[in-house]
């Protein structure tokens, strides 16, 4: 079996064609090869959610996905949420509601919240808490994060642009 394989993917709207070692995770590809360090590494076993990105619109723990599995996919990371310097409604709501303290889990929370709102534009508090239960926040901003998601849902602004 080849040590590397060519993959093509769209990352934050930009087409990327890369030769990737077959054992490299999507997380490592994003951080180490593409320089997109907004996606964070913590547990490396799919339990903490810090590395959450969108793969074809679905929230995925990028530490559990091989980069080659993302061949042909459209990837959105936290760097892809703001457009032309304008924060997405979710990003703005995170600031307004105090949903980010140390900030290390924030990119993953934002991506999971984004996917949640795409799937369910009008979630209840329990639905938000369940939807984001795979994203740990040790600073304990859970209520503020839920406030932010609720505010965006109630404003009808979706989860921000892709």
């Amino acid at each position: 079996m080849a040590d590397t394989l060519p993959v093509e993917m769209i990352v934050n709207g930009r087409r990327r064609a890369i030769e990737v070692p077959v054992n490299v995770t999507l997380l490592d590809l994003l951080r180490d090869e593409l320089g997109l360090t907004g996606t964070k590494e913590c547990c490396d076993v799919g339990e903490c959610g810090a590395c959450t990105v969108l793969v074809d619109g679905r929230a995925v723990d990028s530490c559990l996905m091989l980069a080659v599995e993302a061949d042909g996919a459209e990837i959105t990371t936290v760097e892809g949420l703001a457009a032309d310097g304008q924060l997405s409604p979710l990003q703005q709501a995170f600031l307004d509601k105090g949903a980010s303290q140390c900030g290390f889990c924030t990119p993953g929370q934002l991506m999971a919240a984004h996917a949640l709102l795409q799937e369910n534009p009008d979630p209840s508090l329990p639905q938000i808490q369940e939807g984001l239960s795979g994203n740990l926040c040790r600073c304990g901003c859970y209520f503020q994060i839920a406030d932010a998601v609720l505010a965006v849902a109630q404003s009808g602004q979706e989860g921000g642009r892709k």
């Binding site: 951080r31 320089g35 997109l36 360090t37 907004g38 996606t39 964070k40 590494e41 913590c42 547990c43 490396d44 076993v45 339990e47 903490c48 810090a50 990371t77 936290v78 760097e79 949420l81 703001a82 924060l87 990003q91 995170f94 600031l95 307004d96 105090g98 980010s100 303290q101 140390c102 900030g103 290390f104 889990c105 924030t106 990119p107 934002l110 938000i128 808490q129 369940e130 984001l132 239960s133 795979g134 994203n135 740990l136 926040c137 040790r138 600073c139 304990g140 901003c141 859970y142 209520f143 503020q144 994060i145 839920a146």
Partner: protein, 750 residues
């Protein structure tokens, strides 16, 4: 333009970076030519190292270096914030599961991991102690080499230190009821979402070290000593930690990474896995024996407290945790007789260190729980008993310390009101209420430089670490308030010892008070300069000019700071520079070598139900009220209070380390060690604050980031008891433990 001032809740300064992924944590910083490092550890706790064969690892293509203790200066340097007991790499013997014996640096992390596996260590496992009982047994193997503390009568035991504090005479104080119980608190870990991260690179004739550390200047001092370099040749870069909670206060693997970088003459980077972070820092377990004497009228007669803290193999700051954490153990009450004996007990486990609450939650769990039993015994309402004993402002409730510095009755009454204390409860519901107190910083020293630039924008230099508590925002708000700049015209420079003046440390909820005062003084110095400027410009005596809140008031007109500044600087340009210093000096005769700068005071009240079938606890409501003096940013205060409360629910309900018979932690990492998720929260959480402007910080503020964690456990356990009758004195209150207590309640065998 953001006109936010003190008392407003502007968006977090640095928040935009956090929500866009631009915030650079240590692991996000990449230097060209960096080697990736991996630590080599053994699969047991205590072992005698017979030999280490590096050959296979060194021969692996891509490996740059493999270092063991033999490759370090001899004797191998030791370090530590309190005792210099920890070697840079294990010397002769490993002391705990995870104690590194070697470091490997290679071109990629993958090669480094492979090389670490190829380092052949021949070792012999030795008998070891992992519990208080084993460590205190008469024939226990010694954790620490007695020669490290010559002349210490305790050197032949595993007791690192014993701390005695008290007043009155516990043995002769009359009490109508004595409540005598034992309580335990488990080992828990910080679990910052950012694993500990380190990088070092040769820089000029010295070294630059990047670390996710809370105390960059303390690290600089330790590195300078170990590396035999002047402070000015040791640059510590400390980007915002991705969560600290005390676990990132003190030096860990920075020395070995620095040695590796200097030896390789290239940058070396060590990013710990979460599992390795679990082996780098944790809270001390504690067993507390408390005897509470109470009179029939509900007055506390005495508190007799013995607390044994299980610390690790190296002291780190753990012994200070023990002395300072047990010290206010009798609580915020006027108690005529108190005896506290606290011991730090060494064991062959990973070093314990500071963790939010700093040794207080352990004793608070026991003493506050015991007070509930005392109230029951004398037939008094649990809230009423507390109110009858609570210190009033100015009371010397700890005779040789700072007097009660707040209206604590107000805080407790507010929490009781919010939880509906005394109101009828639905069947199966119970309420609990507890108070927590923590001695604030006992010493401190902070410098700040503030520069008012020619256009009125401001640079604030502060060596505090913003690990999420929001120090940067508070500092910017102070400068904006004093100098009249919009908040987004204020930049706070932090995290680089080559740029920013000294700050002793970021701990004990000190920064708003200590660094805040330094910044305030620096701003006031600039205001003085503006006053002189205005005096010269307008030929008005200085004593007739007032500068405050960004306005320069002359007898006949008001000018903005910018108007005076621009006119005063003239065509040559320039800037005004203010320096501020704030210090709290040590008091050598004080039991803690310093009285409290302030007390953190919190009252937590909860309503809970218990599932009789599973033992599962549901927190229906959780109320936390803190006396903060003045909330400089109310939203950040709420975030810190609620975050602390949720962290407290972790050690209360679910978190604990499990060791096997070889002293290995069996639940390393996120799968087997559970912290609260969004599904483990109270159904409702509410926080409130008491503001009487009576703190020593800017505008009457006090520190507040730990208070709401201190007394979560006794409040929850009290609610569980009222809801179900289950009596539990060991944390965490896992469903299994609650279920067993329910069976005991019913007299069933389990």
């Amino acid at each position: 333009m953001n006109a936010a001032r003190i008392g407003d809740s502007p968006n977090r300064v640095g928040g935009r970076e956090r929500v866009t992924g631009q915030q650079m944590y240590v692991a996000d910083i990449r230097l060209p030519g960096t080697l990736q490092a991996k630590l080599v550890t053994l699969d047991c706790a205590r072992a005698r190292i017979i030999s280490i064969d590096k050959t296979a690892a060194e021969n692996l293509p891509g490996v740059s270096l493999v270092m063991t203790a033999a490759d370090l200066p001899q004797p191998v340097p030791r370090f530590g914030p309190q005792f210099e007991d920890r070697p840079v790499l294990a010397v002769g013997e490993t002391k705990y599961h995870g104690d590194p014996v070697a470091i490997v640096a290679a071109e990629t992390a993958e090669i480094a991991a492979e090389a670490a596996r190829l380092v052949r260590v021949e070792y012999e496992e030795l008998s070891a102690v992992y519990t208080l009982a084993a460590a205190l047994a008469p024939d226990a193997p010694l954790v620490q080499d007695p020669s490290l503390r010559p002349k210490d009568p305790l050197a032949g035991t595993n007791v690192l230190r014993e701390h005695r504090v008290g007043w009155g005479d516990v043995d002769s104080e009359a009490a109508d009821v004595v409540i005598d119980n034992r309580y335990s608190f488990p080992i828990v870990t910080h679990f910052a979402i950012e694993p500990h991260s380190f990088m070092a690179a040769p820089e000029g004739d010295g070294v630059a070290v990047w670390s996710s550390i809370q105390h960059p200047y303390w690290l600089q001092k330790i590195l300078a000593k170990i590396l035999r370099l002047p402070l000015a040749r040791v640059r510590v870069v400390a980007p915002d930690p991705g969560g600290g909670f005390g676990g990132k206060q003190h030096t860990k693997y920075e020395p070995i990474v620095a040695f590796a970088a200097l030896r390789a003459d290239r940058p070396v980077r060590l990013i710990l896995s979460l599992e390795e972070s679990f082996q780098a820092a944790r809270r001390a377990a504690c067993e507390v024996h408390v005897r509470t004497g109470v009179r029939a009228d509900g007055k506390i007669a005495f508190q007799d407290i013995e607390a044994d803290y299980l610390i690790g193999a190296y002291a780190d700051i753990a012994d200070r945790v023990v002395s300072k954490g047990s010290y206010p153990g009798a609580g915020p009450y006027n108690v005529p007789a108190v005896r506290i004996v606290a011991r730090s007990v060494l064991s062959h486990t990973l070093p314990s260190t500071a963790f939010r609450g700093f040794g207080n939650p352990q004793v608070n769990w026991a003493v506050e729980s015991n007070l509930d039993e005392a109230a029951r015994a004398v037939g008094l309402d649990r809230l009423e008993l507390r109110l009858r004993n609570l210190a009033r402002k100015g009371d010397a409730f700890i005779p040789f310390d700072t007097a009660c510095d707040g209206d604590w009755q107000q805080t407790v009454r507010r929490a009781a009101e919010m939880i509906g204390w005394g109101q009828p409860l639905p069947a199966g519901h119970g309420r609990g209420l507890a108070v927590g107190i923590k001695s604030g910083p006992t010493t401190g020293h902070s410098y700040s430089t503030v520069r008012l630039l020619a256009d009125g924008s401001v640079l604030v230099y502060a060596g505090t670490s913003d690990m999420g508590q929001g120090a940067r925002t508070i500092f910017a708000q102070i400068a904006a308030q004093e100098l009249g700049a919009p908040l987004d015209w204020v930049t706070v420079v932090m995290g680089d010892t080559a740029l920013v003046p000294y700050d002793q440390q970021t701990s004990a909820s000190r920064s708003t008070v200590l660094m805040g005062n330094a910044i305030l003084r620096a701003c006031r110095s600039i205001q003085e300069q503006l006053r002189r400027m205005a005096s010269e410009l307008h030929s008005v005596p200085e004593d007739q000019i007032v500068v405050e809140n960004g306005i320069v008031r002359l007898p006949d007109q008001e000018l903005t700071v910018i108007q005076v500044l621009k006119a005063g600087l003239g065509r040559m340009g320039g800037e005004l520079i203010g320096n501020g210093e704030s210090r709290k000096d040590a008091e050598p005769d004080h039991p803690l070598q310093g009285s409290a700068a302030f007390f953190e005071f919190n009252c937590t009240a909860v309503e809970a139900t218990v599932d009789e079938g599973t033992g599962d606890i549901t927190i229906v409501r959780h109320v936390a009220v803190s006396d903060v003096g003045k909330a400089l940013n109310p939203l950040q205060v709420r975030m810190q209070d609620e975050g602390a409360a949720i962290q407290g629910l972790g050690h209360t309900l679910m978190e604990h380390y499990i060791f096997d018979d070889k002293g290995r932690v069996r639940n390393l990492g996120a799968i087997d060690y559970r912290i609260p998720t969004s599904m483990d929260l109270p159904l409702e959480m509410e926080s409130d604050l008491v503001e009487n402007g009576d703190g020593p910080g800017p505008y009457g503020s006090k520190g507040m980031s730990e208070g709401a964690l201190l007394c979560v456990a006794p409040a929850v356990a009290a609610a569980v008891r009222e809801a179900s009758g289950a009596v539990i004195r060991d944390l965490p209150l896992t469903p299994e433990r609650v279920w067993r207590a329910l069976q005991e309640r019913d007299g069933k065998e389990v």
